[in-house]
């Protein structure tokens, strides 16, 4: 059996933010219908044979048979469907599952998506759900939070590499600047270094501006066999490589907390499959749930040597117009982080970047041909990386 090449033919994403007036399935339907309409030559939805939907189950709700609720609501009843849960990397892994389904030859067309509603849950319960993706038995039961584990990484990164709180704030400023011109972003406003540094502490050294917001949202991606792509669209984007990996669940048990090994390994696999190197990447969406995570991602993905993430920021290399623009969408920090919808939301952004179809030109990375998405679950327990090509 030879592996089929896979193409992306349609992408959709809701606005990320506080979306109180839509139920989970309504949110998903919005993203799905946008993806269907995005297939410019049209597609009959009955052609979708396999469905993978990322959802981390925040707040509880329809945790059992979630995929049936979603397929039922959008008229996909009959397709095989799975809810995929890998915390914040749920829909990144849903994307990979859809790619595997097509590349294995099992089906011609598959759907990947994600959905999360977080703002309709009482504050205390959201705090409960946010903390379930790290190690429950030891980290969580020592009072640790999601921000807390990344703070542990930040303190150590500062200690070993001289990274400063200003570097963290620079991530925030950059991503807010990008997100300010993204009509689908949760926090569409710029910020300054001074404001970011002076914002309230959440988990030392991380302030409010080092943390992504709690968002609602959905995203969807339709993939098909590459040789069928032109039937559906004139502007397919091809999956050049992908890789998934795991790291030890508890951060305190990792040899090095200044790196997330699942990112390193997933990226290595994706680069190898795509036969590209980090320096070939023109644009990337990386998992900046906390600002330190973006700095660590630069290093883990090979955009700069270990410990030089802060320097890369100082040089402005990850801004639009820089050597390797990162998170032109605003990233999780500004675009928002509806946990289960984030991974396919990143694919949505990179597909538009590669097509040159970003709504606002100041956010468009000109001439981008190869893009990368990096989606991490929890504190790095899981990571998936995709490399896409025009």
């Amino acid at each position: 059996m030879t592996l089929q090449k896979v193409a992306i033919i349609g992408v959709g994403q809701t606005r990320f933010g506080n979306i109180i007036d839509k139920k989970a399935e309504e949110l998903f339907a919005e993203a799905f219908l946008e993806a269907v309409n995005d297939v410019d030559k049209g597609i009959d939805i009955s052609e979708i044979q396999e469905v993978y939907i990322g959802n981390s189950g925040v707040g509880g709700g329809q945790l059992g048979n979630f995929s049936s609720l979603m397929t039922d609501y959008v008229g996909l009843t009959g397709a095989s469907a799975l809810r995929i849960e890998n915390a914040c990397a749920s829909s990144g892994f849903a994307m990979r599952a859809a790619i595997l389904a097509v590349s294995s030859g099992v089906c011609d067309v598959a759907l990947a998506g994600g959905e999360e509603k977080m703002n309709d849950t009482p504050r205390n319960r959201v705090r409960y759900w946010l903390g379930i993706s790290g190690d429950m038995e030891w980290e969580r039961l020592s009072g640790m939070t999601f921000a807390g584990v990344f703070a542990l990484m930040a303190i150590r990164h500062m200690h070993e590499y001289g990274t400063k709180r200003e570097h963290l704030a620079m991530v925030s400023v950059k991503n807010h600047k990008n997100g300010a011109s993204n009509p689908k972003a949760h926090l569409q406003r710029e910020t300054t270094l001074e404001r970011a540094l002076a914002s309230p502490m959440i988990a030392y050294p991380l302030t409010l501006f080092d943390c992504c917001p709690i968002s609602d949202g959905a995203s969807a991606v339709i993939v098909c066999k590459a040789d069928l792509a032109k039937k559906y669209t004139d502007t397919p984007v091809y999956v050049a490589g992908h890789g998934g990996s795991t790291d030890r669940l508890s951060v305190f048990q990792r040899d090095d907390v200044t790196s997330i090994n699942s990112s390193v390994v997933a990226a290595k696999r994706a680069y190898k499959m795509a036969s590209v190197k980090p320096e070939d990447i023109d644009v990337a969406e990386v998992h900046d749930c906390f600002t330190i995570a973006e700095i660590i991602a630069y290093e883990d993905l090979g955009f700069c040597p270990k410990g030089k993430g802060g320097k890369l920021l100082e040089e402005g290399q990850t801004e639009i117009g820089g050597k390797i623009p990162v998170n032109p969408s605003g990233g999780l920090k500004s675009k928002g982080h509806p946990v289960g919808a984030t991974g396919t939301g990143q694919i949505y952004e990179i597909v538009n970047q590669l097509r040159g179809s970003v709504e606002k030109k100041n956010r468009q990375v000109s001439g981008a041909e190869i893009g990368l998405t990096h989606n991490t679950g929890g504190s790095g327990g899981t990571t998936v990386v995709h490399i896409l090509k025009r």
């Binding site: 190690d135 429950m136 030891w138 009072g143 542990l152 502490m201 959440i202």
Partner: protein, 144 residues
């Protein structure tokens, strides 16, 4: 809100109350918490209990700000406000994650010497969950 059930917690009491690590008979690595497949040699090994000293150094730390603690700790948050949590590297070389207690601001730094201390961790369904925290090593007397 049973996050870690009482039976699961109960099973780990030797680790939570008195730092019993499990030493791999195959490669000698101390596994903490206990495992069936050794973290180091990745073998299904036999393990023997090994009491850890409880002395170590802060490897990394954070301070969870008041208002952002997990719900099990909202009671503590009300009483004590923000609180530090650290990764502590024990003398035996392995690391564990725990709160720092009875501290002053200046005690929170990488490499600071700390020792394990038995404390109330949190309460759930009226049951008190005891366990270990760490505190800065004071000038405690020791035998000559």
């Amino acid at each position: 809100m049973a996050h870690v059930s009482i039976p699961s917690y109960w099973k780990t009491l030797p680790q939570r109350y008195c730092l019993i690590g499990m030493k791999c008979k195959n490669c000698g690595t101390i596994n903490f918490p206990a495992r069936e497949i050794c973290i180091s040699c990745k073998q299904k090994s036999e393990f023997e209990p090994k009491k850890l000293s409880g002395r170590g150094k802060i490897y990394s730390y954070t301070v969870i700000a008041a208002g952002s603690a997990p719900p099990e700790f909202s009671e503590q948050e009300k009483l004590a406000g923000s609180f530090p949590v650290a990764i502590v590297e024990l003398e035996e070389g392995l690391r564990i994650c725990a709160q720092i207690t009875d501290y002053e601001e200046e005690d929170l730094k990488i490499e600071a010497e700390v020792e394990a201390v038995f404390r109330k961790i949190y309460e759930e369904d009226k049951v008190i969950r005891y366990g270990l925290k760490f505190r800065p090593v004071k000038k405690r007397k020791s035998l000559p």
